[in-house]
Symmetry: C2
Subunit: 330 residues, 2 copies
């Protein structure tokens, strides 16, 4: 079976390099990915189209320029973009499509696929390959994932992704979710991992074995937290396991080493912070607040994040962190 490898270095990696990608860097990476035969790769601000802002971090170069640069290097690869409704707009999507982006991944919290209906519809009308991307999938039980995937499918999504945004899943969690989707929806299934618990590769294999055919990776693991499944390593491992990816391993390794490694601003190891995020299963944006609140109330930031994780707090509930810290301190 041939798997579709989708490289997210130029989107999830935007977090890791603080949105500093230049046109030259994107061109070099795009050239390498295209030469290696990677089917799709994503180019956007880390938080998707329209993410460049004081709140999410300003991009050094407009993502539209970066998308245009990437597209111009492609002969067989296609450029994908990420869109989080509420951050990116329909206008942003139209602009990206005009520049040649061929796939959009419309990303919502795992329980909120309904906010994506219009964007999925627009993407189909623009002729794009259309993906529903269920973020923080570890926070919802299997039945909820199935329900939300069915919503995405009903809007017209051709692929639904289980996305382990917090790097909190273990292989059985992945297997349960992907296998249930495989039985419940017609469209293709994808999986996106983070390595906060050193489980990205193991979870990726579990996803493939359960029926996922679209798999995300990032060269040198460049991505938020401890990073993603490392694309070039994944290609080697999948090949050893007997899967076809259509990717030239050496060319991909060369791109990882020659283009991505030199622009890394920090290593993608599992640090104390990324381990805590994965172990607690919380949004990475909670980390700085937790550190601040922990200091203010004299509690351990890890206890705080674990408690927040148990409460299944979602983005926007940062105030809760201070309340919980106050309670823990008593």
């Amino acid at each position: 079976m041939t798997l579709n490898i989708l490289d997210v270095s130029l989107r999830d990696g935007s977090h890791s390099v603080r949105h500093s990608f230049t046109e030259d860097q994107v061109r070099a990476a795009a050239r390498g990915l295209n030469a290696a035969g990677v089917r799709y790769f994503e180019v956007s601000h880390g938080d998707g189209l329209g993410g460049s802002s004081l709140q999410y971090g300003l991009s050094a170069t407009s993502e539209l320029k970066l998308i245009e640069a990437a597209v111009s290097e492609c002969t067989t690869s296609e450029v994908a973009v990420l869109l989080i409704p509420g951050i990116g707009t329909k206008q942003d999507l139209e602009n990206a499509a005009k520049l040649g982006a061929k796939m959009v991944r419309v990303a919502t919290h795992v329980t909120e696929a309904d906010v994506a209906a219009q964007h999925i519809e627009l993407a189909r009308n623009l002729g794009m390959k259309t993906v529903g991307f269920l973020m923080m999938s570890h926070m919802a039980p299997v039945e909820k994932i199935v329900e939300q995937a069915k919503l995405f499918e009903s809007y017209g999504a051709e692929i639904v992704y289980v996305t382990d945004s917090a790097g909190a899943m273990l292989p059985q969690d992945v297997t349960n979710r992907i296998a249930a989707l495989r039985q419940s929806i017609q469209c293709d299934i994808g999986f996106h991992a983070h390595n906060n618990l050193s489980m990205a590769m193991a979870n990726t294999i579990a996803a493939v074995e359960a029926g996922a055919t679209y798999i995300d990776g990032s060269m040198r693991a460049l991505g938020a937290g401890a990073g993603n499944t490392q694309t070039e390593v994944m290609v080697a491992v999948l090949e050893r396991l007997g899967y076809e990816t259509g990717v030239d391993l050496y060319k991909l390794m060369d791109t990882a080493n020659d283009v991505i490694a030199p622009i890394m601003q920090q290593s993608q190891e599992v640090t104390g912070s990324s381990l805590t995020l994965g172990y607690a299963g919380v949004y990475s944006s909670f980390l700085l607040h937790a550190q601040k609140a922990a200091k203010q109330f004299g509690v351990d930031e890890r206890d705080l994040l674990i408690k927040i994780g148990q409460m299944k707090a979602v983005g926007g509930q940062e105030d809760l962190i201070y309340e919980v810290a106050q309670t823990l301190a008593r």
Copy 2:
């Protein structure tokens, strides 16, 4: 079930810091490991007792001094040493035992357990916990591993380790080997991973599920190649999976972050070199030779290492690399 965690930061990590450990560093790490309740931790030159040499790299501080320093910090943890017959001697082992080392891991190539008979016997006479450590276990089929483990057991080893020195195994390889040992020998079974294919944690879980009760890890993954299973992450994951380790996660994380992170000389990511070693399944000492030979004969070092791996070359056969390079060039 309680698993025995054995931390190898102060031995396998010696490779990563080029044998530069100081007494102060070892004391601080030992204090942290002891406080966290890690049952055993290993202190030796990366290539074991007696490894300090021009060939294997000179230690900045005598390993006997480091062992003594580590022992002096322990109230409940015990210090292990590694001994590779031919590098370390029986005298080295006696010296380590006198200083308070309580466990020795006698390491041989996976097909050569017979060279360890005398050392195992001596270790038992010295009252040490005694381990047979089968290096490069990916190179031998299951029956060979069982045969060699039985030899170790017959010499008096209380634990036999499956050691994935090249980081080349996939979970099924681990499961097959550990499960076969579980059925064939009485002594305890251990597993030591490297992360060259991003599989260290997945392989560790496979080992535990198949019956291994001694598990190696290294803080911040400090070790040869892409490093080992990351101890503090492993403790978190094993806890999530319902295993007891008796280790205080926060204290271990603190030691990893406050003691190990500051002394790291390089990141423990999967680089092109470590991926190639894992993919080819060869000794890390072959890498520099392969790079040299590849340049000399104008071939790709990866093709060379993969060929060498297929030929199942072992340490000492470095000359073969140049012959193969010459053949590939034709």
